[in-house]
């Protein structure tokens, strides 16, 4: 993993914590070098011209101006560099993100379901099968409406707000939403994806640094948007197993939802945090979109942005 991100660091980009992240940083870095060179070149020329050809110094303008073809060369170099960035970096990089998902057998697969203003996580448990979710079963204690009569659901884990994953292990997050569009942004992992109701959008990354990271909602989702914060904890394998065990013990039908805050009467539908404060880890009330692929843990790289 080459660290080649001088401008990025200079501009304050936090360190990368995922396997593919350095590639994202590289394209950003190259773009910044390219922009910097063009800007400095143009600026130097610009300042020179403004001084050299000011009226006092150069009282009579030249009707014909520049005759040389230097601008054409410049134009072609710009095109060339952009083409290299596009074909050499951007397109292959994206293809790797959407066409080359890791095998679900080796990866942690988790459903992340956004809602105003929190993230719910659904893990399939040891059997690797996601239990059935039903909108009619949704309650304060069962935010995703997990059907406990489904054998596949017995060992499932549902948590709210915080997700643990083991380090150096690919993670596939399948994104959806109960209500409006959210965006699951992990800046340290250099990955983000929209959580759109009615769609299941997969994304993947491989965390390489243990630690605690913020999950940002990157799409305006209502008045509590600014406080819609999740936590991603990247654990050492033994810590991860301990967390799984603890979650599994809690998962006896009633998952980990904190008590719901009641909406004060007379408030608009999207009651939320008080001004100036970050809201507490949100209170999922009910709700579950009828996901098209509830039981299907396999990621489908097919675009839903058609």
């Amino acid at each position: 993993m080459i660290s080649l991100a001088l401008i990025n660091q200079f501009l304050g980009q936090p360190p990368n914590a995922s396997e593919h992240g350095y590639q994202i940083d590289h394209i950003l870095e190259f773009a910044h070098w390219f922009m910097g060179a063009l800007f400095l070149g143009w600026s130097a020329y610009f300042v020179f011209v403004l001084i050299r050809f000011r009226r006092r110094k150069h009282p009579r303008a030249d009707y014909h101006g520049v005759k040389s073809a230097i601008s054409t060369h410049l134009e072609f170099s710009v095109v060339l560099i952009e083409a290299v960035l596009l074909i050499g970096f951007a397109i292959p990089l994206w293809a790797k993100r959407v066409n080359e998902f890791p095998d679900t057998k080796d990866a942690i697969v988790v459903h992340a379901v956004g809602q105003q203003f929190n993230w719910n996580f659904h893990l399939p448990g040891p059997d690797g099968q996601f239990g059935r979710r039903d909108v009619n079963l949704v309650s304060n204690s069962n935010p995703l409406g997990l059907d406990q009569n489904d054998p596949a659901a017995k060992d499932d884990i549902v948590t709210t707000g915080e997700l643990h994953v083991p380090v150096n292990h690919p993670v596939i997050v399948e994104l959806s939403s109960k209500d409006v569009i959210h965006n699951f942004a992990l800046v340290h992992m250099r990955i983000a994806g929209d959580a759109i109701p009615g769609s299941l959008i997969p994304m993947w990354f491989k965390p390489v640094k243990p630690g605690t990271y913020e999950i940002i909602c990157g799409q305006l989702c209502g008045l509590g948007h600014y406080g819609m914060k999740g936590t991603l904890v990247v654990d050492e394998p033994n810590e991860y197993q301990a967390w799984l065990k603890e979650r599994a013990e809690l998962a006896g039908g009633a998952a980990s939802a904190p008590p719901a805050t009641q909406r004060p009467p007379g408030e608009p539908a999207q009651a939320g945090p008080t001004p100036g404060t970050v809201p507490p880890p949100g209170a999922p009330k009910v709700g579950n979109p009828q996901l098209p692929q509830d039981k299907n843990a396999a990621p489908s790289p097919s675009p839903s942005g058609q």
Binding site: L50, D62, D194, Q290
Partner: protein
């Protein structure tokens, strides 16, 4: 080509008299309900500038919340609370829904009530007919209808602040399903609520733009003066021509989408609502089956051409001013014209680069990344041509030229920082961060708006017969230039830190917002940014006073104070109804500055080509660069 005379005839029959004197028109018909393109242009300009300031004021309020989240706004907090009503600024503290309202309305107002009316409607109306030697627009009444549709749309938008629940709060993009379900429920009126009024106001604004676009296109095609061939058109006319096509073709899909969202909100349809939506603990009673992404496609199909609607007129204004103040022809006129045509075309096939993170596959995203980079090529050509035009000039730094000179590097920063955003992989990091905010503001604020100020100072003498005060113009310019950069440069840092936009707490509650860069935390950078924004607000006061004061007290000038070449300067100042005393004929290109062998360093388009000039111009040896 007899267009101008036939138009004049048309115009006269329309007004039912042959003279250009208008004794029978009352004050209201002459100055308010006028069909004269200049009066309409000035109305558009004054309204648009007011809305620019209003939209900026909304942002100045938000900047307080971002710098000092949770604090009561001193001095004016109580007043604002009274103005905007309960639930907005109670106790001087901004509520999050009000913050979201301000954000959504800032974007809407700046773009659709500010920049488009000034850049396209005001300058287009006032300048284009004069520049092409026409007596008026082809359809003067349609022109007036366009303005009044704009006026109604603007009134509805402003009124929406004062209905229960306040103005629209789902972002200027109004993404569904959020916009579909916002401002609904027992405490909201079915129609008179923020989001629905936003839709209604927008429909009026689109109607206004469509009427204007049709008029501009026909006027430029039909009413050019004799001899004013396509390649003799001032570049500004070209940019307005392409802009009109963008509006004409991009707005109707959005108008359709707005009607669909209106039906979703009012009539219970589900165009943008998928099955199984559960909002705030209750299943939403809808038929479902709709697609939230459909809205994004329809919105950005307008949204991206709209970016060029904002920037192309500024290109045109800057081109006029650079040619005029460098006293030499615009370099690469033909490539400039072809570039704007190509930009116009490409701007219709880049829209999905606003939607990189919606689960796009590799093929579709490869297409849109390629088109996005392709559009940078003509943009670079335009900017290069402006830079190269300065070479060999005799540059005088008049007030319009100051703004135009500032435009170039500012637009450069905005354009260059679009490069990483064009790559969807880099967007995985930068999407919806402050980096994006800084990028597009550099294009629109110190880019387009500086171009607009340049245009105001440049054509002011034509509209009023007087010059704006130079000293106070500079007091306007320098602080604005400095503040713009203090406002937007740090936002690149905030974006690189990972701070996302639309955070009501200014990033205070996020560990990312508390990371340090260049000595301040991401959140702390809000403070200098906000102070710069307020200072820039103060810096607009000299402009406002200068603008109105100079109408009566500015220095009187003759018809061509800038010694310019294009046809609008052959018309008398404060051109009468019908514009020209003598119907102009064009004999040459638009930028014949410093023609060799002439005493004067400018030759106007209506000056016939002399025999001596013909012979002198033919052979062009390499001595020119001596």
């Amino acid at each position: 080509m007899d267009a101008s005379t036939s138009a004049a005839a048309h115009h006269e029959s329309h007004e039912h008299h042959g003279e250009h004197e208008h004794h029978e028109l009352g004050w209201w018909r002459k100055y308010v309900f006028s069909t004269d393109h200049k009066v309409i242009g000035i109305w558009y300009g004054v309204c648009g500038l007011l809305f620019l300031f209003f939209g900026f004021s909304l942002m100045m309020m938000m900047r307080f919340q971002l710098a000092y989240p949770g604090h009561a706004m001193p001095v004016i907090g109580g007043v604002l609370s009274k103005i905007f009503g309960p639930g907005t600024m109670d106790g001087g503290k901004m509520a999050p829904e009000f913050y979201n309202s301000l954000g959504a309305m800032h974007g809407t107002i700046m773009i659709f009530l500010g920049v488009v009316p000034v850049a396209f409607a005001a300058f287009g109306n006032f300048v284009v007919p004069l520049q092409i030697g026409a007596p008026d627009m082809t359809f003067p009444k349609v022109n007036a209808a366009s303005f009044w549709a704009f006026f109604v749309g603007a009134a509805v938008m402003v009124a929406s602040f004062f209905v229960p629940g306040g103005a629209a709060k789902s972002g200027w993009t109004s993404y569904t399903p959020l916009a579909d379900i916002a401002d609904k429920g027992p405490h909201y009126h079915l129609i008179w609520n923020g989001q629905t009024m936003w839709i209604l106001g927008f429909i009026f604004l689109i109607t206004s733009s469509l009427l204007g676009a049709v008029n501009f296109i026909t006027t430029i095609i039909q009413l050019r003066a004799k001899g004013l061939t396509w390649m003799r058109l001032p570049f500004f006319v070209w940019t307005q021509f392409v802009t009109a096509f963008l509006l004409l073709l991009a707005f109707p899909p959005l108008e359709a989408a707005l009607v669909m969202q209106f039906m979703d909100r009012v009539a219970g349809t589900s165009f943008f609502l998928p099955t199984g939506l559960v909002v705030n603990g209750a299943a939403v009673h809808i038929s479902g089956g709709g697609s939230p992404l459909l809205w994004q496609h329809l919105f950005w199909f307008l949204g991206h051409p709209e970016v060029y609607v904002l920037i192309l007129p500024a290109f045109g204004i800057v081109a006029e001013i650079i040619a005029n103040n460098s006293r030499k022809p615009l370099w690469g006129y033909k490539s400039l014209v072809f570039s704007v045509l190509v930009i116009g075309f490409l701007s219709f096939i880049v829209w999905a680069h606003h939607m990189w993170l919606t689960g796009m596959g590799s093929t579709v995203s490869a297409f849109f990344q390629t088109t996005t980079l392709l559009i940078s090529i003509p943009s670079v050509i335009v900017l290069s041509a402006f830079f190269i035009s300065l070479w060999g000039g005799s540059i005088r730094f008049t007030v319009p030229m100051l703004w135009a000179t500032a435009f170039l590097p500012m637009f450069g920063i905005g354009g260059l920082t679009g490069i990483p955003l064009a790559f969807n992989s880099a967007d995985l990091y930068l999407h919806d961060t402050y980096y994006v905010i800084a990028h597009f503001h550099y294009i629109v604020a110190p880019g387009t708006i500086f171009g607009l100020f340049a245009g105001v100072y440049y054509w002011y003498p034509k509209a009023t017969g007087r010059m704006m005060n130079e000293f106070w113009s500079k007091v306007h310019f320098w602080p604005s230039l400095i503040c713009m950069n203090v406002i937007f440069l740090p936002m690149f840092l905030q974006g690189m830190l990972g701070m996302h936009r639309r955070w009501y707490d200014g990033g205070q509650g996020w560990t990312i917002g508390n990371e340090h860069v260049w000595g301040l935390s991401g959140f702390q950078w809000n403070t200098p940014i906000s102070w710069a924004a307020w200072t820039m607000g103060l810096a607009q006061i000299p402009f406002i006073i200068n603008f109105f004061w100079s109408i009566k007290h500015g220095k009187k000038v003759d018809d061509n104070p800038w010694e310019a070449t294009t046809l609008e300067w052959t018309a008398p100042n404060r051109p009468p109804h019908g514009n020209f005393v003598i119907t102009p004929v064009a004999y040459r290109g638009p930028y014949e500055y410093s023609l060799p062998g002439r005493e004067k360093d400018f030759t106007m388009q209506n000056e016939p080509v002399e025999e001596t000039e013909r012979t002198r111009r033919r052979p062009e040896p390499e001595t020119v660069l001596a």
